[in-house]
Symmetry: C2
Subunit: 445 residues, 2 copies
């Protein structure tokens, strides 16, 4: 009946037990980097799929269906026999006994542990905002945002009160990072191009899309000139970009905005999306406490140059959960940005360092290889900031969009997904239709 190590039997195996928490970009890459190693890998994730986060906003805006950007984890490791995948949620990490406790009640012991539990959204202490302004981290989040966006138009078509109708047709995205910019741009695209002609009582093109950013510019990880391009492209798409505007309140009927030199004002909205803050998984704080470390303001765990924990070489922390620095030879250590290439590279380094330890060799410091930065704004528009040996290459507009498109489709996991995503996009591009405009649970009232 069993064709692998039995649950209790991992101890029986003489091979080193490597446990990886989380199958995001970091955890996935770490497990793959160990594919030829003579070890027993247990990969624990609380979902059954690896999610291609960079395209999650497309699921939220009904452009793609979930399976196009999510692959079953155990299917990804079907051929990698040294990986055992467990769908479970880690509740507690005990460095002393080197044991994890799971939501299912089971426990797992490790010789080497890689913690890649990732991040969740942060409402800067205003957790009651979550109800009114969902964030975008999981497929459930994406379905909920898709439902709210589409249902707002449906409610507007039903609505007889002009003021209420206008509020229902006001969409607000909070946070001008890549996700916020992509969400706002795509929402404007839906209102201007996808829905017109399908309603009889409202004009979807009259919908307002606002992008509210507390900082002075959108895409702050980008060079200023690309932020300017992005903002121009957003405006062209019909997005009302408001920088330097801080959210002071979010309720069921909208939000309040203030900021330096800004007379506080209210925006009535039927659909508010949160793309402002992320915080490391709570697991980080628990782990840090257990090993006597302090997490940073974002809840990330400080790591040694080799990504292990001070005094606990058997534990490595990677990805969004790690306050990691890049240690390029002869340079000052620089913080690693919270992007997927960073997580992937940390995954490879952590795995390599475990193999070095097993071979009795010294570990190596993590060096982040920066390839640059991409962001799409909407139909035909994106900004690209490539880091090349010859210096930065920066461009925007149509070719940036094509570059973004193929880069993302290329990195998508699995041939079928790439093919179907390309078909969906080609279809959407030529017809302006969005194929995933289906809401399973649509509350009429």
């Amino acid at each position: 009946m069993t064709n692998g190590p039995a649950p209790g039997a991992l101890r029986a195996s003489s091979r080193p037990r490597i446990v990886i928490i989380g199958c995001g970009f970091g955890g996935l890459e770490a497990a793959r980097a160990l594919r030829r190693a003579d070890v027993d890998i247990t990969l624990v994730d609380r979902t059954n799929h690896h999610l291609f986060q960079p395209l999650l906003y497309q699921v939220a805006t009904a452009g793609l269906s979930a399976p196009s950007i999510a692959a079953p984890i155990r299917n990804l490791f079907r051929e990698q026999r040294n990986v055992t995948t467990l769908l479970d949620e880690v509740k507690h990490i005990d460095p002393a006994s080197r044991t994890l406790t799971m939501a299912s009640g089971h426990a797992i012991a490790w010789d080497h542990l890689i913690v890649a539990a990732g991040a969740t959204h942060s409402y800067f202490g205003n957790d009651d905002w979550a109800r009114h302004a969902p964030g975008l981290k999981t497929l459930d989040d994406a379905f909920e945002i898709r439902r709210r966006v589409l249902m707002a138009f449906e409610a507007a078509e039903r609505e007889t009160d002009p003021a209420k109708r206008e509020a229902l047709l006001t969409f607000v995205v909070i946070g001008g990072g890549p996700t916020g910019v992509e969400m706002a741009g795509t929402m404007a695209e839906i209102a201007r191009h996808t829905l017109p002609g399908e309603f009889r009582r409202i004009d979807p093109a009259s919908a307002r899309v606002l992008l509210v950013e507390g900082g002075t510019r959108v895409l702050q990880a980008m060079p200023p000139e690309l932020s300017t391009r992005a903002q121009e492209q957003l405006t062209r798409l019909g997005v009302d970009v408001r920088t330097g505007a801080r959210v002071t309140r979010i309720d069921a009927r909208g939000l309040e905005v203030g900021g330096e030199g800004i007379e506080p004002y209210r925006i009535d909205s039927g659909c508010v999306v949160w793309a402002a803050g992320v915080a490391a998984s709570p697991l980080g704080r628990q782990l840090a406490g257990a090993v006597g470390l302090q997490t940073d303001r974002a809840g990330r765990v400080p790591v040694e140059p080799d990504l292990s924990l001070a005094g606990h070489p058997d534990i490595s922390v990677i990805g969004d959960l790690a306050a990691a620095k890049s240690h390029a030879p002869g340079k000052e250590p620089t913080p690693v940005p919270g992007v997927s290439p960073g997580a992937k590279q940390m995954g490879r380094t952590a795995a390599a360092n475990i193999l070095r330890r097993l071979a009795g060799q010294p570990t190596r410091a993590f060096v982040y290889q920066d390839y640059g930065n991409l962001a799409t704004i909407g139909r035909n528009s994106a900004v690209v900031d490539l880091t090349t040996p010859a210096g930065p290459v920066r461009f925007s507009g149509y070719f940036a969009w094509l570059f973004w498109l193929f880069a993302h489709v290329y990195f998508l996991i699995g041939f079928r997904n790439r093919l179907v995503v390309l078909i969906d996009w080609a279809w959407a591009y030529w017809t302006f239709h969005r194929q995933a405009r289906v809401v399973a649970r649509s509350d009429a009232s």
Copy 2:
């Protein structure tokens, strides 16, 4: 702002107001049949999509993603300007004032009403069974069944107790109709072909799939020899078919089965699916009561030969909600089977009769055109019973499966869906993979 009749303003229009409740096969066909009529059509559905029910089991078994079998209603009627689509739920029908009351609080008045609210599952009075054995009518149902099937395998991989593990790997489908047969066959396919190799502690192929049918044979709408073929093919796929077995109890840990000459026994199961009974929408009983009619045992509303209600020629009832008979000239009236062709044909007849009334012509009696009956069992196997002028044509096996496949893809709405469904199936067929094995909310504990 409004590019159609304003909410309150329908009365202002001089054109006849036709209201259609429900956008299943019947309602969709009725609205389309009126596309050239000089009328105002209001189409009310509580979801935003038309669902291609015959393939819903493929969503439940992770073969297809939801958008492949669901099309946004208002997109389907984008070009048909005389249709206003409203996402809302009808709470009350008042024939006296000719008004509908909605969940949103709004009201709609009609000159002609077509009620096509369809059916839901019936647990024969044991409504507490619903929790333990979900049925398959909506996308939410399909996602829940998908979640339970996939999560049962995940829990089994975690489970250390052999007895519990065996229960988790026991899947039970209740009801041997087309849906039950398709579900059971596909579940067996998943266990035998899709999942093996992906687990390390369990052998998915050791999973048991039981099909429990109270009657003497599966597919009772089919001629006996095709039922026999279907049962043979199910057995070949590894399904344990139990006919003449009545369910006497369903709880969180499994079910109890009895029946004539059967010693009552218990089946421990982690995943039970209900495909046994359907009942007409509750709206039928409310409507019947309001016009002084009695619904039949299945809760269906008795209709006149022209599908209108006795004494209420302005109200027609069609599809699964109608206890309709076919009135072929010179023949005894015969009941109409609850299949999609029946609903579509009723939709066309109801629409045509409304136009005849508007033209002051006598209405015509409904005549059901029976093209036959299809059911698929699983990979490469199906049974086909065609009704032709030259008499019945019956076949089963691989060619029946191809026939079934192309018939269903042909009737799918929208080019893109057909294309993507074909790609998904071709991919699934050659690789044995199932592309939609993604569970958004996967409870580890």
